[in-house]
Subunit: 166 residues, 3 copies
């Protein structure tokens, strides 16, 4: 921590230092159970998701989803779409733009809608680029993930960027 | 903490270990004040609610709402419904399914709508059962709470599951 | 901490003790980028906002937005409005009512809509008064902030109340 900087450690001993992209889809008898199924499919169904808008702390490691104890309070940015229109194809995607300058933060963007996963992912990558242009920052790389679901009864597509600690 | 497990303590020294169900309803001159009134009626109106999706950590104690300092940042899963249709009956409910296997987590479900509290509570209990079926887990018990409100000007029905510490 | 009081320190070593009002507006090619631009304009675009409902802990200091490390997980109450109707004027406002009795908490209210910033701010001040009337508490003072935006392509108006630590 730089001298004179406000201490974030009052809330958290340190900022999250890992980032993991996850995605999933699923069916339920109603939209909340379908959302729950999509979360399970993505590997985050037994965690307490705390939705954030939508910044990656500097110098995170991008890793596969770590083993996180059930019920943990986990910061996550995500997109999801639920539909009860049989046969409809829905999708969700998140992208992460990581900066060339490692002192800067990354930016997470989310998108969801009645579209293919390819369309969702293209869209969300453009959004991350726009966010970096606004900041006047150079992108090191963009990573993304998406899911797609064709509805049977009630379906959900979900994609998220999990922040955690190692 | 098991060997090799990711340390959740970087965010919180320990997972929440209590669960309290609360419900309330009320009127205001607009939907946000009606929501505030319903929170006050439920006993959580002077807390900072952080909405979570929607897991009960293993081995929590189910207790009446403890005394929590005003302004605390409190993890909660909740449902609510506001309406400005005079005479309309609205309701909100949450249920919690607790597992037979005490190493597993519990699941919170929320429901809200233009219905009676009995209907909302029946619905949300079915949703919790469906969530446990998806996981292939056995239920020890399901608890639930609900509120109902008949709108005068602008009304709100609220129900929530508060996680906290003892 | 009073004897017998539940220890909030299991989540946070202490309650937030500063409050800062922020507001901004901006344009993007879509609503999420417009929201991001409004956050940047307000000075909180590189933080992880965790939305809370909507209490000011007792005895906070009202200060200008402190320097907070990028990516920090920051509790905030906020209102925002996005529109893609060219020429439409949109606004968002937050107000904070602070109590005469310094042992009590303050109350944050949010409002957003198709209106001027003056209208939004008037509205949100009335809402804060109503919240204190519900509690039977006396107001020491009300502070507020607002933003206004006339849409070109896709625009966003944003106002928020940041809780933090010093």
């Amino acid at each position: 921590m730089e001298k004179g900087e406000v201490n974030s450690g009052f809330i958290f001993p340190s900022l999250p230092n890992t980032l993991s992209l996850v995605a999933g889809n699923g069916e339920g008898s109603n939209s909340l159970n379908a959302f729950d199924r999509a979360l399970l499919n993505a590997g985050v169904g037994n965690l307490n998701l705390i939705r954030i808008s939508s910044i990656v702390p500097p110098k995170v490691d991008v890793i596969p989803l770590p083993r996180i104890p059930m019920g943990s309070l986990v910061p996550i940015a995500y997109g999801y779409y639920t539909s009860d229109v049989k046969g409809e194809t829905i999708a969700a995607a998140v992208s992460v733009a990581l900066p060339r300058d490692k002192e800067l933060c990354g930016l997470i963007m989310e998108y969801e809608g009645i579209c293919s996963k390819r369309e969702a992912e293209n869209k969300v990558v453009e959004m991350a680029k726009e966010g970096f242009e606004m900041r006047g920052w150079e992108i090191d790389k963009i990573i993304s993930i998406s899911s797609e679901h064709t509805v049977e009864k009630v379906g959900c597509a979900f994609a998220g960027a999990v922040l955690w600690y190692k």
